[in-house]
Amino acid sequence: MNKNTTEKQSSCLVNRRDFIKLSGSAVALLANGTLKRNVFAARQSRRQKPKNLLLIFTDQQHTNTIAAGGCQYVRTPTLDRLKTSGVSFTQSYSANPVCSPARSCVFTGRTSSETAVYVNGRPIRSDIPNLGQWFSQQTDYETFYAGKWHLPRTYTSNIPGFNVINTGIGGFGYLCDTVMSRACEGFLRNRSKSKQFLLVASFMQPHDICEWLRLNMDKPQEIRYPQLADKFPELPDNFEFDENEPGAIKKRRLGNEPFKGKWNKEQWRYYRWSYYRNIEHLDAEIGRILQALEDCGYAKDTLIVLTSDHGEGLAHHQMVRKNTLYDEAAKVPLLFSWPGHILENSTDTAHLASGLDIMPTLCDYAGITLPKNMRGRSLRPILEGRSVSADNFIVTEVRSNTGRMFRTPSFKYITYQDDSVEQFFDMRTDTGETKNLAASSRYALVLAEHRKMLREWESRLDVPPNVPNADVWRQKT
């Protein structure tokens, strides 16, 4: 990566934390560049740096899939350990709940419309550095990547900025995650301890639920294993859905296997049971890597981050898979662990977090400056128990750059291009997103504020010309 190319990026952009702090009159100051950002840079040099960084990336993991986090349907000893040894965020969102776009955001800190990865299977725009490229330039960390990449190839032996531990066989989590975790185990056990590393272990599970849906669509009247019936999880409270949804959501639901196969409630519950078994498989494979980390003496010097590209419908709103802006698809687990250095057994319910925050956080811990135009923020102050305002917002994009979610601490606003139906939920009283308040006069003012804030955020993006639908958003601003 040519460093000059990354510096050419527009410098008048703001991260979203600064933006909400400054929205209103102060925005003008940012626009002409008189206010500088990066609130944590000044303190970086004084702080302790982890010797190693391990980013565990899962695929399609619903936020409520950890036993220690209250999920009663799974056994997750590894995820439980990770959760209780560090900080977990309950309000963490994917920046785009689809595989490739979400990954582009995590690995660049930029929105999917900016990275030009607005659908699956596209490469990251070449003038935006990824995590591996940035760390290779700016740090002494050796950078390694194992498992699913999907930018553009699902698995590849060639990822810019990373030494690739090349495993993966397409779309089969059970087989390829086992091989990937074995490779990571070998990597940890064999490497020289003298050099610090950044390792990304990118799992395919619990994405196997996609194949499960295709292999279990038919014959909902017959449950193949009746002995399991009393073990099936209950349906979620928000199983029913609002008939007056945006058209894109309705269409997506009808195209999914449960509607094609005319599932009954028991089949929905069997699907949920099956999804949790994939989570348990994932948990065991992560456990193999963490055991190797422990055995090799890396554990106390390694900051571990775990997150996912997006969630899973899991029968909420009668949805499966991803690609919607309801919490089940848009929310993701986000865990940090570095015992002795960050808070332990801490659940953060106050702050909104995003996949866009991973890169700034890792850069902060590595003690390096950020690439320009990061859209997220470092979560380090929160991880270390310092007082941080929870008055921020996050934005999630979806559906080939046609949908947007604007989430503030109290509300969630969803809008799609070419669709007059907007959604507006009060997330304090309606966490299941069952009552659309967009048409309620009582919320007209606050809804208008959300529209305005989204437009202002949109106007500051650096979207390349080859991204579809970008003009429509620009015209709205």
């Binding site: 056994r75 190839r153 699902t154 698995y155 590849t156 032996s157 060639n158 531990i165 090349n166 495993t167 993966g168 066989i169 397409g170 779309g171 089969f172 059970y174 087989l175 390829c176 086992t178 091989v179 074995r182 490779a183 185990e185 070998g186 990597f187 056990r189 064999n190 490497r191 196997d208 996609c210 194949e211 499960w212 849906l213 295709r214 292999l215 279990n216 669509m217 038919d218 014959k219 193949r224 294993y225 002995q227 399991l228 296997e257 094609k260 196969g261 099956s274 078994r277 994939n278 348990e280 498989h281 948990d283 065991a284 494979e285 456990g287 193999r288 190797a292």
Partner: protein, 278 residues
């Protein structure tokens, strides 16, 4: 012997896969031997023979096949598993396991294991050695990714087994509804999966190559796994193991087929690499 083989099965030809990508049909049902045959995953099963004695020495090879959930595309052979059973004494046996799974860009993961087992219903492991190693596209061993592990079960731990051990144990179980086993499983001799149940489902008439063949089915249910069905002929030879999107299919040609696939993948990888260089 039927004429149909894996190599001339239309589902396995890449040009057909491309052509059919746009007209994919969802499979809709869990993998069974009948469905595997419909999907072109079976070449043939050996005729059921009383010469096969599950409690004696034997050597079985399984092709590892994966399914994307569509009938027309995305279904592939990805490797093989060979298990060799050796009698040690009245009370113990040894399983020698060799598995190769092809990865992206012609990388191959190889797992070798030697497991000394009790001669009980579950073939409970007593002690074992397992190694995982990788061969690159150039065929060379990648030493920095290999790992080795030795283990031994604690005294009295006879309600546990391993996934490879179950391939052996299931062939000695009674094909009766009374057969219900509860145990913990050490998957790949390394990952503990508690609370497993193995039970006999029944005798099913499966349709393979136009013939009706009766096969016995056991099912394993438990934490950390999707339901896993074991299909055996009437002389208790294990012919197929299917769990969600993957199947182990008894096939004496499995190793040869895998080697061919690896070779093709190597050539295609080299071609990709050289075109990138240009």
């Amino acid at each position: 012997m039927r004429e149909k083989t894996i190599n001339n099965n239309p589902y396995f030809l890449k040009e057909n896969i491309m052509a059919k990508k746009k007209q994919r049909t969802i499979v809709g049902s869990p993998l069974t031997p009948t469905l595997l045959d419909e999907l072109g995953a079976l070449s043939d099963f050996p005729p059921s023979s009383e010469d096969f004695k599950p409690a004696e020495n034997w050597d079985s090879t399984y092709r590892i096949w994966t399914c994307h959930g569509y009938r027309e595309s995305g279904n592939d052979n990805v490797g093989f598993l060979r298990i060799k059973r050796l009698i040690n004494s009245q009370s113990s046996l040894t399983l020698k396991v060799h598995q190769e799974v092809l990865q992206t860009d012609a990388l191959v993961n190889i797992v070798d294991a030697t497991i000394d087992c009790r001669n009980n219903q579950l073939a409970s492991p007593i002690q074992w050695k397992v190694s995982s190693w990788f061969r690159g596209a150039d065929g060379k061993f990648i030493s920095e990714l290999s790992s080795n592990d030795n283990g031994a079960a604690a005294e009295g731990l006879d309600r546990s087994t391993g996934d490879w051990c179950l391939f052996e144990a299931v062939q000695r179980l009674k094909t009766s509804k009374e057969t219900v086993l509860t145990f913990d499983m050490l998957e790949g001799l390394s990952l503990l999966k508690k609370g497993q149940h193995l039970s006999y489902r029944g005798l099913y008439t499966t349709k393979i190559g136009g013939e009706n063949i009766p096969l016995h089915c056991f099912v394993q249910l438990g934490s950390g796994i999707l339901p896993c069905e074991y299909w055996l002929d009437d002389h208790h030879r294990l012919l197929a193991v299917a769990s969600m999107n993957k199947a182990y299919i008894f096939d004496e040609q499995a190793e040869k087929i895998t080697r061919q696939i690896i070779e093709e993948e190597r050539k295609s990888y080299e071609k990709r690499k050289s075109s990138q260089r240009k």
